[in-house]
Symmetry: C2
Subunit: 410 residues, 2 copies
């Protein structure tokens, strides 16, 4: 992505550190998610401490890094960590790029309907009112069709689902997930983040879906929706059927699901007259019960809010919060500079989830080109400031040593 | 203490918050120290979070506090917390007074012999070489005497110990503890911190002890040491016998002992040709074993060092580290400004453990009067800076709102 290009321009090293409990960084191997004794070490605080230890190790073992300023960067949860490591360890981190970082995802900090409303607005903008209306009406249609055994068979057939549908809620959950995903990755060019998709997938989906004529039977609407969804999920043509157990085939979401059940609890709801998402209420209590059932834990709701300062972040410096204006996660991020007057907020029009961190592409909107330029200039400034601070520190130490020497000589 | 006086001058409120697991703040009542399930919530991080929650509660519930800057203060462990809360929550804390705060007590950050050497230097300064020599020679004398049953009886009698001495190590441990305590509270006036003592207790002890003439039998030296110790521990005359199970009768040390076994591990050793402490080696492994035996836990040595930045504290601002130069804990504190060029270090000559935080007294040395003046001026400056920052923030928000309004009006 952008960081590789930037590191060459700035002659910097890039270190990607895998987060504990993700990928191959499993502290107890196959037992890592077994029970609380094993997965209890999966916390954001401890991940931040891992990064600090890694930085210290690199500085201790490689002389070229010894006095190098460190810039943290990340997108989404990585962006949250990026902001937090600068907040909690400003001694280690000269500055941070927090791209599409929903740092206010915690209960009470954002509107639970924000995600679905931003996604809806993106669909309105890229797909039009007719598309949104068709999606919105689909939910009750699907429920109606799915009430009978024949209807479930029909849905299984229309959506080409791998295993016969037993509970209509499963297809509804899958569809709302995929709509969220598509609006997250609504990039201006074909991309393969979360799943392989064409350019502007929201537009793509809606073009297919808008063909529906209200004169036609309701089943035709659902059939069009199915065709539109399948044309996206099977964009590469490699799929033989639709696996509705996951909407993000390229991510293992167990780690994140567990984190939401322990600390990263994110209220999500959907309501209102215009909303692409199926009606959904948020209830912490029933969420806790589902966490107990799945993992045997309940969320610690207050701790991360205290730890990471809730909305009281007015003192922070040297952090850029960049948000895509069409990214549903922007509703849970810092998008208003008045909360962080000594930091930088960049709201990028026509940009989906952390578009700024992706490799520059000819199809990028001007806004993201400008955002990357601000990021680059800020990083240069942070590095300069850090080096000046170090020089001052050295001069200061020198003067003190000299005074000590004079003292010693009497 | 000093804070009460200062708060009147600055028209400030003083809030003392009891640390969890101390005093009456026992989260599980009598079961609080039962096992890991109960005492596992005793960590410095969580205590800091308690304070942050308390501050937020006070600000939310009392309009007079809503926009008040907060200054943290504390001595000893309280001073460590004071420095750390400013480091980790600079958004909540405008500045911090960390008095006699051994923030570098963790393994690898300070010389384990530092405490005993500073205590020894204090004894040399206030009691003289002869006193130090007599104490140093006492340790092997006590071991010799204590080898026989009669000798143990003699020691029990000489030190007026409440229950007959069974292991000579018990009296040695008690004496080394009390010597440490006396050098901590070597105040220039009678005081009652840890135990009731006369002015300059080190001088008092040594005056009695220096009377020993090497021509006399060794038992006479120990007898003099016993008399000197008893004249201090029973300074009030209320004691019928010496309870050697604790050297700090006014403190319940269970909480702190447990913290040293979990996070606040403090290497302590004593060696060298001149040392008032009995020879002692530091061995993390045997310390861990003793922690396992007593509490069923082993120390997490690396975590608090990462969490609280080890010695990499060069970026901190608005913290005063004040140290008494005759306080043995100063060996584990930040006493050199070159580590914290943007903070303040005050080394107070002739001052024992957090003398600056005590109520001003006519016997105070000039150095501590000067230290308190610097502290006052810095606090005034921090409050001023904080208020300016808030005003800037308001102006900034105002300008942004105005621009938004213009945008809205087109």
């Amino acid at each position: 992505g952008f960081i590789w290009k930037l590191s060459q321009e700035l002659n910097a090293s890039v270190v990607f550190a895998e987060h504990r409990y993700y990928g191959t960084s499993l502290p107890f191997g196959n037992n890592s998610f077994k029970d609380r004794q094993h997965f209890g070490y999966l916390t954001a605080e401890q991940a931040l401490a891992d990064y600090v230890l890694l930085i210290n190790q690199l500085k201790a073992n490689y002389s070229c890094f010894a006095s190098s300023p460190v810039i943290a960067f990340g997108g989404s949860y990585g962006g949250m960590l990026s902001a937090w490591i600068r907040q909690k360890y400003p001694n280690q981190i000269a500055g941070a790029i927090a791209s599409s970082a929903p740092v206010w995802l915690f209960p009470g900090l954002s509107d639970c309907n924000g995600f679905s409303m931003t996604a809806t607005n993106s669909f309105l903008k890229y797909g039009g009112e007719n598309c949104v209306k068709n999606i919105q009406l689909s939910w009750s249609n699907i429920v109606d069709i799915g009430q009978s055994i024949d209807g479930k068979e029909l849905l299984t057939h229309m959506f080409n689902i791998c295993t016969p549908l037993t509970d209509v809620q499963n297809i509804i959950d899958y569809l709302s997930d995929i709509l969220g995903t598509i609006s997250m990755v609504n990039y201006p060019y074909p991309a393969n983040f979360l799943l392989a998709l064409p350019e502007w997938p929201v537009k793509y989906l809606c073009t297919n879906l808008s063909a529906y004529d209200p004169q036609q039977p309701v089943v035709t609407r659902i059939s069009l929706l199915a065709k539109a969804i399948l044309s996206l999920t099977n964009y590469t043509g490699n799929q033989t059927c639709l696996d509705i157990s996951t909407s993000s085939p390229s991510l293992d979401t167990t780690g994140w699901d567990l984190q939401t059940c322990m600390e990263m609890t994110t209220p999500m709801c959907a309501s209102g007259p215009v909303n692409i998402m199926p009606p959904l209420n948020w209830d912490l209590n029933s969420f806790s019960i589902s966490c107990q059932n799945r993992f045997g834990v309940s969320p610690r709701v207050e701790w991360p809010k205290v730890e990471f300062w809730s909305k009281s972040v007015h003192t922070i410096t040297n952090i850029i919060f960049s948000n895509g204006e069409i990214d549903p996660w922007s509703a849970l991020s810092i998008t208003n500079n008045s909360y962080v007057p000594f930091a930088t907020v960049i709201n990028i029009s026509d940009a989906a989830h952390h578009l700024d961190l992706r490799t520059p592409n000819p199809a990028d909107p001007q806004s993201v080109i400008k955002a990357r330029e601000i990021e680059k200039q800020k990083i240069i400034q942070w590095i300069k400031e850090w080096k000046i601070k170090y020089k001052l520190l050295k001069i200061f130490n020198g003067i003190r040593s000299f005074i000590s020497l004079l003292d010693y000589l009497g």
